[in-house]
């Protein structure tokens, strides 16, 4: 078993699902590609997952479930997503239940937990409207007060699982005067509605996740009782924005699962495919693409896992952390999948050839993650509105309370440290300028300075990591100065330049997360992790956003990275800073000799 117990559920799920290349496995590539071709909802898979009791891990212990923390959650969502984003997302719409765990009454929590556990029920999120998209306050769906409850009217579209779900969370206008308090949030249990008062809208055909139940729902004088409302009347926008802080960060787990399959499939191809008397992997250029892709996965890991744990430590900062992760990790991994498609060559475009055509499906599916649940611009916008505060806070709090900050960072990033329970009521609309990850840079530099005497480290690696960390700090200082000096617009009139500044902020936050991840885990995540070459190379990759190649320290030899990539591949482990055990791959057939061993022997 894995020494870190947050990975036990993921490992057990892997073991029981089995090798995705074996067509007989549940969620095999063959099964999910077939379903995708037929655009069919993955009912069998979803039922299997319920029977496995995975849904218990979406329900907190105090509500009768087994949810522990988001690090565990991210790990098992990766397991689902590496096989099939359609089913992974369809099952994980259950993460909307956190709206109730966060804001519901005891009775609402009890009802929802029972619906999930006893009826194997699922839910969907009805926020979007055809005419208003991201503009939640502009919505036309109304909830009009009547004796004992409300009448819902209007249409929500496009909604994932709008039809195949028993509960839908509906954001509706309760105050015609408009404004931030004009919306309320309702937990609508379809079983309690008069059937004549609502209709499902037809399936929407999509580019990827084709088997999804993408549809919508229309209400016509649909009566919901008073006790369907979550929180106070007028609390809808506030709850919606806080709920997004949870789900947006978790979306990164979808991308990471998909990225694993894209890289694993392409790597396998590159190791088998022989041209000009050698394998594709033996050619320096394709090998570089694959090792860089592996670095992208590790970079994403540091941000995603750090945030998953940070939920339990610094929930009041998640308006910032979550926007960073949702933007940065999903966009970078989407780009990474496109990068490796160049190595897969012609097969990247084929829907059957090579591993059942899973790459082509993954490529199509992964493109939605950066868009739904708050698109890239929406996340950057949420972040850029806070950048003045963030810069001000940093200027004021330099070097203040380093012990407290260090303890918080150690709990967020030290994977062997116990986590306090997550409390959704501590989420805040804005972080009041606080962002531990970037504020912790001076601390990280002090720790790096103290490592000079550490014999286990190569001086060049430590030197590069230190140099890059100083560079992150310098770029942050210059960004802060720029933000402070630039004119600030309210509303939706922000300049394109400010969106670029928000992107830079995300890159710097992620780079700092990589440094913290290394510093707090050097002694228990294995040799490859401890040596830190991956970190120096990753930071270099991130700093290329800011500096010219020739102004950076030279690129370290990446042989160790390629070797680790092959090791994880041949031992069937997740490409990750926590390379937990995947289901063992079936032995290769005789006609396709494995070159794994030859490569390892080199």
């Amino acid at each position: 078993m894995h020494p870190l117990k947050h990975y036990w559920v993921a490992e057990a799920l892997e073991r029981d699902l089995g090798d995705p290349l074996n067509p007989d496995s549940m969620m095999s590539f063959k099964q999910v590609v077939d379903l995708d071709e037929k655009e069919e909802f993955p009912h069998d898979i979803v039922n299997w997952l319920y029977n496995w009791n995975l849904h218990h891990h979406y329900i907190p212990a105090e509500c009768g479930g087994e949810f522990t923390n988001f690090e565990e959650f991210v790990a098992f969502v990766r397991v689902l997503s590496r096989r099939d984003l359609t089913a992974g997302i369809a099952f994980t719409t259950m993460f909307w239940s956190f709206l109730v765990w966060m804001a519901g009454t005891d009775e609402q929590k009890r009802r929802l937990a029972s619906f999930m556990k006893d009826q194997h029920g699922a839910m969907c999120l009805s926020y979007s409207e055809k005419a208003h998209g991201s503009d939640l306050l502009g919505g036309d769906v109304t909830a009009t007060q009547v004796p004992g409850g409300y009448l819902l009217n209007g249409e929500k579209w496009p909604i994932n699982r709008a039809t195949i779900s028993g509960v839908t969370f509906v954001l509706a206008r309760t105050d015609d005067a408009g404004g931030a308090r004009s919306l309320s949030l309702f937990m609508v249990e379809k079983s309690k509605l008069d059937e004549k008062t609502y209709t499902h809208l037809p399936k929407i055909l999509t580019h990827g996740i084709r088997g999804s139940d993408m549809s919508g729902i229309r209400f016509e004088d649909a009566f919901v009782a008073e006790d369907a409302r979550l929180g106070a009347e007028g609390a809808g926008l506030e709850l919606a924005l806080k709920g997004f802080q949870i789900t947006r960060a978790l979306c990164a787990a979808f991308s990471q699962g998909a990225a694993d399959t894209a890289l694993r499939t392409t790597l396998k191809f590159a190791m088998k495919r022989k041209l000009y008397g050698k394998t594709v992997f033996d050619m320096p250029q394709p090998r570089r693409v694959l090792t860089d892709a592996f670095l992208d996965v590790l970079i994403g890991d540091c941000a995603t896992i750090g945030a998953a744990r940070g939920f339990s430590v610094a929930p009041e900062q998640f308006s910032v952390w979550s926007a960073v992760v949702k933007y940065f990790v999903t966009v970078k991994l989407e780009a990474m999948v496109t990068d490796v498609s160049a190595v897969l060559g012609a097969r990247f475009y084929m829907r059957e050839e090579f591993e059942f055509g899973i790459f082509q499906k993954t490529l199509r599916d992964v493109a939605i993650i950066s868009m739904f649940d708050g698109s890239t611009v929406v996340n950057l916008h949420a972040l850029l509105l806070q950048m003045r505060q963030l810069a001000k806070y940093r200027a004021r709090n330099k070097e203040r309370n380093p012990e407290v900050l260090n303890a918080r960072l150690e709990t967020s990033f030290g994977l062997d440290k116990p986590l306090p329970p997550f409390d959704g009521r501590k989420l805040e609309l804005v972080s009041r300028g606080a962002d531990d990850v970037l504020q912790g840079l001076p601390l990280a530099l002090t720790q790096l300075a103290s490592l000079k005497a550490d014999k286990s480290l190569t001086p060049e690696v430590l030197h590069q990591v230190t140099t890059f960390t100083e560079m992150i700090q310098a770029e942050l200082d210059s960004l802060d100065a720029h933000v402070t000096a630039s004119s600030f617009e309210y509303g939706h009139d922000q300049s394109p330049e400010s969106f670029e500044m928000a992107k830079q902020y995300c890159t710097l936050h992620t780079a700092a997360a990589c440094v913290h991840m290394w510093l707090y885990n050097r002694h228990h995540l294995g040799d490859f992790f401890a040596k830190g070459e991956w970190l120096a190379l990753s930071l270099r990759r991130l700093m290329l956003t800011f500096r010219r190649e020739k102004d950076l320290p030279p690129r370290l030899d990446d042989a160790a990275i390629a070797q680790e990539l092959i090791r994880l591949y041949s031992e069937d482990r997740m490409f990750s800073i926590v390379p937990f055990q995947l289901a063992p791959a079936q032995p290769e057939t005789a006609s396709e000799p494995s070159q794994t061993l030859q490569l390892q022997a080199k």
Partner: protein
């Protein structure tokens, strides 16, 4: 309430109103005279998240933690200033000086 406390409160409310008017006028590059304390802030093109960030600036100025949804619940400058002084007991005298 004594005459003296009532006067102090009026000064406090005025100080907060003046600060908010100036702050918003500067940020939006419009003359302070165009901003009416009795108008909802949304009238000046400020949306819900903007008003949360204004609360951040207000916190900095007053040196106090405030509810981030202050301007959602008290959507005009006049209402927000009265709430701060009368319900929370904020006194900006020192800062405003």
């Amino acid at each position: 309430m004594t005459q003296a406390t009532a006067t102090t409160e009026i000064f406090a409310i005025e100080a907060i109103q003046t600060w908010m008017v100036n702050q918003i006028a500067t940020q939006l590059s419009i003359p302070a005279a165009n901003i009416k304390v009795s108008e909802p802030l949304t009238r000046y093109g400020l949306d819900s998240i903007d008003s949360v960030t204004i609360v951040g600036d207000l916190e900095d100025w007053l040196g106090e933690d405030l509810p981030s949804t202050l301007l959602w619940d008290y959507p005009t400058i006049a209402k927000a200033a009265s709430y701060l002084v009368e319900e929370i007991g904020v006194s900006p005298a020192a800062e405003a000086a």
